[in-house]
Structures are given as structure tokens and as C-alpha cells.
Symmetry: C2
Subunit: 512 residues, 2 copies
């Protein structure tokens, strides 16, 4: 029998390794926010060293031996002599640690180093390529990244599709076989609703959102909303970056970023709310389990459910603006003083097929995801070459959304994800939308006065509910188990579709 | 014979280890500038892990073996079979690498980890203690740090005084036996000059510097001066922090910070110039030698010579303000429009004994250093207990400067250094002043039009001269060799005293 002390040894080693990941995350945050333009090359090397070291330490004989005193290192099964001494938490800790360990062991250190270096450089090239609308500039990097990701899938091994290996990185347990029918069904509903909206006589006046809004005031307002949501600025911060993101180095240091445009007020506002949802998840993780899987978010889909729940279920609801709209009017009296709350509410909920995912409404957003999912499948499964992507992108966007990019900057170059090797990541956005609707439906059932509270600016009951039901567990449960446990149902698009039908039926005056 | 490839292996390994130091430096920069208040504890742990790892890697059998194929690992002597194959650069690289290696080997990894952790925590406690003027709050941390530094000296071994071991960390080759007479002689001159200034009828009107100056405009002006000095903002940045500092992660990313007070204009201005001098050194190091000792600054004294040269020899000179004062007037027309350049020049050169080192003039500054040097000696050599420091501090400040702190925040708690374990660091400030005067004297000899150029805002000849004579060499030469080589003299306080006599003789109208 192993003494409890040695589980502590394992945790302590994991925490030490996590410090390296945290350091890399600080360097990445710095790269996106404040790093001088001239030091991209060396930053890529520094990051590669940190990630390689973390990888080497995690796959070291030391960790293997610590972990191996509890589980069969080949299968992950808890050793018979440990079964009775370990509680549920320890079981979950070992299950998830073994999952990470066995995946990491499959990737050679030299490969991890190469991939890290490629990603860091590709991100910088992508930024320039997007700025100059020059896909050819980015092409060699993207080609190398695709080959590396295909290679990664081979190292990790998979059934059915190499894409499953990549998907499993971001959404453990998710597969192409699960997503295809889920997305197909969802697509039918979205297309139906989109048709109804297209045929509606209602025309939101979105020009009120594209007046001139002082950027500093916008960011201040975003900060105010974050505070109101319960995001703790003693344990986080808000900065500007090209692409909004959330990063955390510990529950006491979970940072969000936004971007701000003078003539696009919703961009900063909803980025803040969205990233705030992510930030609350990170601030709500257990400090006690920091450094171990139980101190980490379950999956990107669950992470995204938190941002989407706040952004859409809360941030685009009537109740939310009942409370907040007068404050927004006070901030921008010239622009919004004469605009009715209803008119504003309709404008921020406009549904219109467009080119850019991050600016898309909550309905068509998912069509953007489906386009990316299908393109990624083609590329990773090797049926399409990287240099064909701009054309394929434009064709699919036209097929799904009926609009055509006029250049690659608003087409295939628009997203940062591929530049850091995140293939298999996009589907988690739509999964997040579906989880969010399921969770919010449950929250309303659990708290009869939820909407009333939101209408009074009291978001804390919702934040606490999420802390309690989702955040604090870390990876104690899988995504499907957690959703089943909290909502009593398996993953389904029904609540999401129902929400869309209700909201847009009302706004656009149609019945479903 | 070892092939040249294996010197590359050594360099490559050193660079990789350097990435960890760089990462730690980014985390420290972040801690001082943007880190949320609530995450101090975890940051201390993250830093400790990085430093320990770097230490372990540097003292690993791998480095020992790589280094050992060129030098006798016990003595540092180049192996006979290598002598002829290595050029001067390689000799210097191996000499300095062995110096670092043999010092590092003497410090056990557990000790380094403990010290790192203590320092990071103590820094945060010190900040609070200074804010609340509460030395008792800081006392236990400082006691632990002193004990750790005494222990460090024992590990490193020393002759004469444990203080020599600490001094040698910051100023290799410097000893108590060298500093005592140097400082004693300097002190005699300073006291004499201070008496003459005290007896002068000239009274600078410094109230013009403490009017209200918009803080954003002050920082903008600091940025303008930095640009003019040749500090490259594509390879650096300027931020705010409680205590101004410079940090670099590579010559392409050398950052400076300043602080800014509405009613103390010189503080931000001269911090920018001072840190700019440090920043130019870091930006001027050889990227080719990055990660190895030849890509690092020689010593803190030489580093400080760069900041002091710019701050005092240039930034407080008449020529400098001939060019810059009209621009400063344009920036602050209300405050300075009616103030003559001469009056301003006199005000920024006021000599008056005061309590706070970082706000001290260039003459009395050195008396502050002597106080700290003597106190540190007492404490490290064990003749004085840490809890006696506030009293000892006040007594010495009164003896040297004739003023008495009214509380510990403006007394013993004023400096950040001890909170990060930097005992033996302060003397390098005065050494920096002496080196600066020697270098500037030489620069004037080498460039007859130097003053004229400065008067026209053309600082590039001076920057290039420093790049060429000092920066680019890294640790190729020791401090004393470099000074000898550039100026043809050994370290002396003569040029410094001569500069003071000339400048203050003119300003305060006395003859020496």
C-alpha cells in the first residue's frame, strides 16, 4: 500500500510542471498585449523551451513512477491494492492525469518543440498576412502546421479519422461521428429560422450601433459590466489585444482582453461579456487543486458554454438590458439618449449572414463553425491541399451563408486559430452554444427569480450557481457526465433551438 | 581535439537555460507592472520553479561535461589540448561561463529555491510595509533574507569578509578592501564640496519643478527623450512601476519603466533618462552572443555607469537643455513658459542633503550609498541585528547628511533592494558614477564635437561610441580591464570629483 504522502508527491510534481505552463501563458499574454514588435523571434524560442521542458518533465520517469504507483501505466486502471484507499477525488485526479500522461508520452519531445516553435512563428506571420491580405505569405507556415497536426494525430493514434485525435485534445470524448448528425440537425433548424428571419418585415436599425463611441469610454463600460458580473479585478485584468482572449495562470490571476473600435460599439461590449464568462470559470476553479487536472477546465466546449451563456443567454437578453441600458445611455447620451431600449435590444440581436465569425450573430455563428469543421476535416484527412483553402472557404461560406468574401483577410485569414495549430478547436464553439442553452435552461428551473435578479443587475446568484455546478469541479467529471449531472439530459441542441425560436420569433414576429 | 561543434553545443545549452531566466524576467516585469494584486503568492512559486530549474540545468552533468571538454572544471584553466584551437572570444566565453558555473555549483538547488521564494514574497511584504510605514511587518522577512544571504556567502566562500562573496555577485572583482579607501577619499571631497555649496549665496528656485505637471504629458515627454537618445521602441517599451527599473529578455526586448508624480516633474524625467541608459546597454548587447556571458552586461557598476552617464553627464548638462528646454517649455507652457533656461538648469542641479536616495542629487547620492554600504557590512558580518536597522539607519543618515527621517518609509524601508536579497548591490551605484565620469571624459576626448552635438539634440554619436566601446563586448572583458582599455586608467574618483567641482563651482559660484 502506498502512503497518502505519495499522492501529495505526485500533486506537488504536477504543480511544479504547471508553473512552466503558467510561465508560458504569461509570455503568450505578454506577446499579445505589450511585447515590442521586434522581439517575436526570440519569444518563439523562449516559449518552445518552456513547453518542451514542461513536456519532458511530465513524461519523465519520475512522473511515470509516481503515477505508476497508483495506476497501471499502460491502461490507466487503478491498481487493485489502491482501489480501496482512494476516494472519488483521487480517482478522478488519477484518471485525468493518466489521460494527459498517456497522450503526452505519445508525442516525442523533439516534435513538441518543433510544433511550439512553428506555432509561435506562424502566429506572427499570420498577423502580418491578415494585415496585408496576403494568404501566400501565410501559406508555407500553414502547410507546415497542417503536416505537423497530421503527424500529431498519427502519434496520438485514433479510430475512424485523424481528426478525432485532434478533436479529443480540445473536447475529450467528442468524435466526428457524434458531431456530424448533431451539426446536420442543428443546421436544418438554423436554415429554417434564417429563412423566417429573412422573410420578416422587421428591420433592426443597427446604424445606431455604428455611431462614434469614444473607445476609452467603451472599455470603461466593459470593465463596469465585468465587475457587475462578479469578475474579480483583484484576481484579473482587462487589456487590449488584436483578438480577444482569456488566459489564466492560477485562479488568482485570470486575465481577459478585448478589442475596441470607435464605430462598432458591440464589438468591445460583447467581447468583454464573453471573455468575462471565460474569466469567471478560471477564477472559479479550485485553488486547492491548482496544477492538477482537477484545477483545470473540463474542455473547451464547457469553457465556451460559460462565455456564451453570459454573452448570449444573459448579455443579449431583455432582462439584462432592462438594468444596463440606462447606464449605457448615461455613458453615451449623445449617441443613445434618444434611442429606446427596445430599439437597442433589437439592434444587438440582429440576425444577418455575414463574413466574419467573431462578429456574427448567435444564430449564423454556428454556420461559420460548420464551414470550418468541414474544411478542417477535408484538410486533415488529406483530401484538400492547403493552397486550395481560400477557394474552398469562399465556396462554403457562400453555400452556408449566401455571402462571399471580397478578400482573404475577411475570408480564410480571419481566424487566429490555425496559426497556433488549433485544428479541431472550432467545433467546441458550437458545442459551447448548445451546453450554454442547456445550462441556462437548468439555471432558470433552479432559480425561479433568475430573470428578475438579472433585471435588477444582480448577477451574483447566477455566478454562484455556475461556480457551484460547473467551475469548482475542474475535471472531476467529463463534459458529458457534468452536463448529464447538472441538467439531467445528454447533449442536445433542443434548448438552444428553442431559445432561438422564442427570441427571434418575438423579435422578428414569426411563429414556429 | 574537440571539434568546434561542441562549443556550439555548449552555447546552445546555455541559450536554452537562458530562456528560463528570460521567462522569469518576464514574470518579474509583469509582477511589477500589470499583475493583479491578488496573485502574489502563486507568482512567487512560479518564479521559484523557474529559477530552480535554471539552476539545476546549469549545474547539471550535461553542462559540466560540455564545459569540461574545454576547461579544467575545478580551476577554470583552459585544457592544454584546447589552448591553440580557441580564439580570444572563446577564451572569454569559457572563462565567464566557468565563473558562473563554479559559483552556481556551490549553491544547493534547495537553497536557491528557498531564496527565490523568500525574495518574491519579501518584495510584496516590503511594498505593503513601506505603504503603511510598518518596519515590523517587514522585519521577519528581512531577518530570514539576511540569514539566507549570510548562508549564501558561506556556500560561495570568501576571503576577509562574507560581504565580498555578495559584492562579487554584482561587481566581480570588487572587494571591501578596495571600496573602503575609495569611498573614504571620495567622501572627503563630497563633504568639502557640500560645505562650499551650503555656504554659497546661490539659492536654486526648485519650486518651479514642483508645480502641477500633467502626468500623461510627463510620460510622453519621457518617451520623446528616450527616442532622442536612440532607445529603440521597436525593441523595448516604457511602462509605469512603483520603482523604475530596466529588464531585458534579449537585445530585441529591453524594457524600461518609470514612475510619475504630478508635483515632482524631475522624477519621471530623470527616471526615463536613467533607465534609458540601462536600456541602451541591453539593446546594444550582441544578439549573436545572446544566452552566453558574452551577451550579458559586465557588472552592475558598468551597467550603472551607462544610466548615470546619460542621467548626469548628459541629462543634467547645459548642452542637453540647450536643445531640450524649448521643447519642455512647449509641453508645459503654463508652468515653464516664463522660466529662463538658466533658472531651470540650476533647479535640476540643486544640491541639498535629503532623505531619499532615488531623489538625491548627483553629489549627495553617494553619501546615501556609503550609509547603505556600511550598514550592510555590519549586518552581513553579524555585528548588528536586523531589528536595530531603523535606528542605525537614522543615526548614519544624520551623520552623513545632517537630516533625520521622520518615519521608516522615508528611512530604512525606502529601498526595494533588500527585499529581493540584493545585499552588496548598493556600492555598484557609486562605482557607476565613477565609471560614468571616466567614460564621459574619454568620450569628450575622442569626440571634440560631442558637446556641440548634444546641444543640437544629436545624441547618436555618443550612443554609437558607447555601443562600440562598452555595450557590444558583453563580458568579454572584466570591468577593470574594460575601463583600463577604454580610458587608459584604472578606476579612480578623480574625473567624477573634477566634474562636480567644475559644475557646482560654476553653479554655486565658488572656486576649488
Amino acid at each position: 500500500m502506498t502512503s497518502p504522502a505519495s499522492l501529495d508527491s505526485l500533486k506537488s510534481k504536477l504543480r511544479e510542471i504547471h508553473h512552466l505552463h503558467d510561465a508560458a501563458a504569461v509570455l503568450s499574454w505578454d506577446q499579445e498585449t505589450y511585447m515590442p514588435a521586434g522581439s517575436g523571434a526570440i519569444r518563439a524560442e523562449q516559449l518552445a523551451t518552456l513547453q518542451t521542458l514542461a513536456h519532458n518533465q511530465f513524461t519523465s520517469p519520475e512522473v511515470e513512477s509516481l503515477l505508476g504507483s497508483f495506476v497501471d501505466i499502460d491502461t490507466g486502471t487503478i491498481l487493485p491494492n489502491q482501489e480501496t484507499t482512494l476516494d472519488d477525488t483521487a480517482h478522478a485526479l488519477l484518471r485525468e492525469t493518466w489521460r494527459d500522461f498517456s497522450r503526452a508520452k505519445k508525442l516525442p519531445s523533439s516534435f513538441v518543440n518543433k510544433l511550439e516553435r512553428e506555432c509561435s512563428l506562424a502566429q506572427q506571420i499570420w498577423q502580418e498576412a491578415r494585415k496585408t491580405n496576403d494568404f501566400q505569405r501565410f501559406l508555407p507556415n500553414l502547410e507546415r502546421l497542417v503536416r505537423l497536426k497530421q503527424q500529431e494525430a498519427e502519434y496520438l493514434s485514433y479510430t475512424d479519422s485523424p481528426y478525432n485525435a485532434l478533436l479529443d485534445t480540445f473536447e475529450p470524448g467528442s468524435t466526428v461521428a457524434q458531431l456530424r448528425p448533431l451539426f446536420a440537425e442543428l443546421r436544418t433548424h438554423l436554415i429554417r429560422l434564417l429563412d423566417q428571419i429573412r422573410n420578416s418585415p422587421v428591420q433592426p436599425n443597427t446604424s445606431l450601433l455604428t455611431q462614434s463611441f469614444d473607445t476609452a469610454k467603451q472599455v470603461d463600460f466593459g470593465r463596469l459590466v465585468l465587475k457587475q458580473m462578479g469578475y474579480n479585478f483583484q484576481r484579473g485584468r482587462l487589456d487590449l489585444s488584436a483578438h480577444p482572449f482569456t488566459t489564466a495562470f492560477h485562479p488568482t490571476d485570470a486575465r481577459v482582453t478585448t478589442r475596441v473600435f470607435e464605430k462598432d460599439m458591440p464589438s468591445c461590449l460583447f467581447s468583454c461579456i464573453h471573455e468575462g464568462g471565460h474569466g469567471l470559470y478560471e477564477q472559479g476553479l479550485s485553488p486547492q487543486h491548482y496544477g492538477t487536472p482537477l484545477g483545470e477546465a473540463i474542455s473547451l466546449g464547457i469553457h465556451e458554454s460559460q462565455s456564451r451563456l453570459w454573452e448570449n443567454s444573459v448579455g443579449r437578453s431583455q432582462a439584462f438590458w432592462k438594468y444596463l441600458y440606462p447606464k449605457l445611455q448615461e455613458t453615451f447620451p449623445e449617441q443613445l439618449g434618444a434611442v429606446q431600449a427596445e430599439e437597442f435590444y433589437l439592434a444587438i440581436n440582429q440576425v444577418v449572414p455575414s463574413l466574419v465569425r467573431v462578429e456574427a450573430d448567435e444564430l449564423t455563428y454556428n454556420l461559420h463553425i460548420m464551414v470550418r469543421f468541414e474544411i478542417e476535416l477535408e484538410v486533415i484527412e488529406g483530401r484538400v491541399e492547403v493552397d486550395e483553402l481560400p477557394e474552398l472557404w469562399n465556396a462554403k461560406i457562400e453555400e452556408y451563408l449566401g455571402v462571399t468574401p471580397s478578400n482573404d483577410a475577411e475570408g480564410v485569414l480571419q481566424d487566429v486559430h490555425w496559426s497556433f495549430g488549433a485544428f479541431g478547436y472550432f467545433p467546441t464553439y458550437t458545442l459551447g452554444n448548445l451546453y450554454a442553452a442547456m445550462l441556462f435552461q437548468q439555471a432558470k428551473q433552479d432559480m425561479a427569480d433568475l430573470e428578475q435578479n438579472i433585471g435588477q443587475g444582480n448577477f451574483l446568484p447566477l455566478k454562484n450557481w455556475l461556480n457551484d455546478r460547473v467551475h469548482k469541479w475542474g475535471r472531476q467529471y467529463s463534459a458529458s457526465d457534468l452536463i448529464q449531472q447538472v441538467t439531467g439530459q445528454a447533449l442536445t441542441s433542443e434548448p438552444f433551438v428553442k431559445d432561438l425560436e422564442e427570441k427571434f420569433g418575438n423579435l422578428y414576429q414569426f411563429s414556429t
